[in-house]
């Protein structure tokens, strides 16, 4: 009884926080700078608070449809997070096209590598699609995102970037990736032990809340960089008047 209350509390707390951070970004007018984060939050909210409850309501918790929908939507969310990391790399490399040109194929190669390893696992475990394959695929994808995120964090540290917003976003994503990656690895090592699988129910939400708290902090407390007025050329009539 108390377990389910805790699970529901975490679940609905997570939804409220997702909505609150999204509203906060929109209200503070930061959605242009936080475009990737806003889209990811929108995806998170539509899957978490709309899609999953609808399928759950229609088919029930023990149905195969819900199980498939849950894991496939989880893959979509992780892919969304991967794209978000790519967009953060783009932001970190703003104005340095050479680095970005070098990074873009690397990001593609990492994704291809994860997909390749996972497809090899699919070939081995195609009979256990929702147990072994999905666990390993998610574990690999989360870990790839975590490694990329860490590389981004190191890049920011090395360049002594003053973009505090970006640094906090990266820290938040790190929390979101590291917890579930460790949990999936634990499930895989424990050969699908039910109690470790149940742990994901809490750990996943806990990590999402950690990420949202960090992003919320960044939106509220990190000051927006001042807009530097671009040096405009004086109009023709003014320069001719000065010359005369």
């Amino acid at each position: 009884m108390s377990d389910s209350i805790l699970a529901y509390g975490l679940q609905y707390g997570g939804y409220i926080l997702e909505f609150a951070v999204l509203v906060l970004i929109l209200r503070t007018g930061r959605w242009r700078r936080w475009m990737g984060v806003s889209l990811y939050l929108l995806l998170l909210l539509s899957v978490d608070a709309v899609g999953r409850p609808l399928v759950l309501h229609k088919y029930g918790v023990s149905s195969t449809q819900y199980e498939y929908f849950y894991w496939l939507s989880d893959v979509v969310l992780t892919l969304g997070a991967f794209l978000l990391v790519c967009s953060l790399f783009r932001r970190a490399c703003a104005g340095q096209e050479k680095i970005w040109d070098m990074l873009l194929p690397t990001l593609g190669a990492v994704f291809a590598l994860v997909l390749g390893i996972s497809l090899a696992t699919l070939h081995e475990h195609y009979k256990n699609l929702l147990t072994i394959f999905m666990t390993e695929f998610q574990q690999n994808l989360y870990f790839a995102c975590l490694v990329l995120n860490t590389l981004l964090y190191i890049l920011l540290q090395r360049r002594q970037s003053e973009d505090e917003e970006l640094a906090m976003t990266v820290c938040g994503l790190g929390i979101q990736f590291a917890g579930p990656a460790a949990n999936f690895a634990l499930v895989y090592l424990a050969q699908g032990n039910a109690s470790f699988q149940a742990l994901y129910q809490y750990l996943g939400v806990f990590c999402t809340i950690g990420m949202l708290a960090t992003w919320g902090y960044a939106v509220v407390h990190v000051p927006q960089p001042a807009k530097v007025a671009s040096k405009e050329r004086s109009p023709v009539w003014a320069s001719s008047a000065l010359r005369s």
Binding site: L146, G174, A182, F184, G210, L212
Partner: protein
Amino acid sequence: MVLAAFILISSTALFFFYLQAACQRALNTRFEQEYFRSIVNANRLEFLSLRKELEEYGHAVDYGRLRMTLKCDFLALTYLLKNAANVNQSYSRDESLLMFYFRALFVIVAARRIFRLSEKKAVLKLTAILEYFANVVGQRVSQYRFGNLAPSDYLLEL
């Protein structure tokens, strides 16, 4: 199997690394002025003298007193965070995260003591968290006017 074990170990390590990095970045927030001094004086908090002691001698003279001082200051400041000039009477998300970080560091200090490792760095981080809390309380109190009371008088009346 080896890959999964590697992922488990490195992901767990990175989870704590990012948690710590997020907390440290939050602690680096600059305040307009040093609000914490008035709060420390009004409530007779001791973490500043503890920090001075650590910086001078490299270690705390009395470990028992160190633990007690940090614990008492933490309790006093978290009480003030919740009740001093706080309309909602609750902690914000970042305050909750930093409180969790404080408790985790507190356990680490005890563990380092058991394994006879230097606890100076961890204790300095603990005092930095307390300084942050005191700054937040000081900033909040300074933004409100309580009749003719100065911020320190208001705190003494709580």
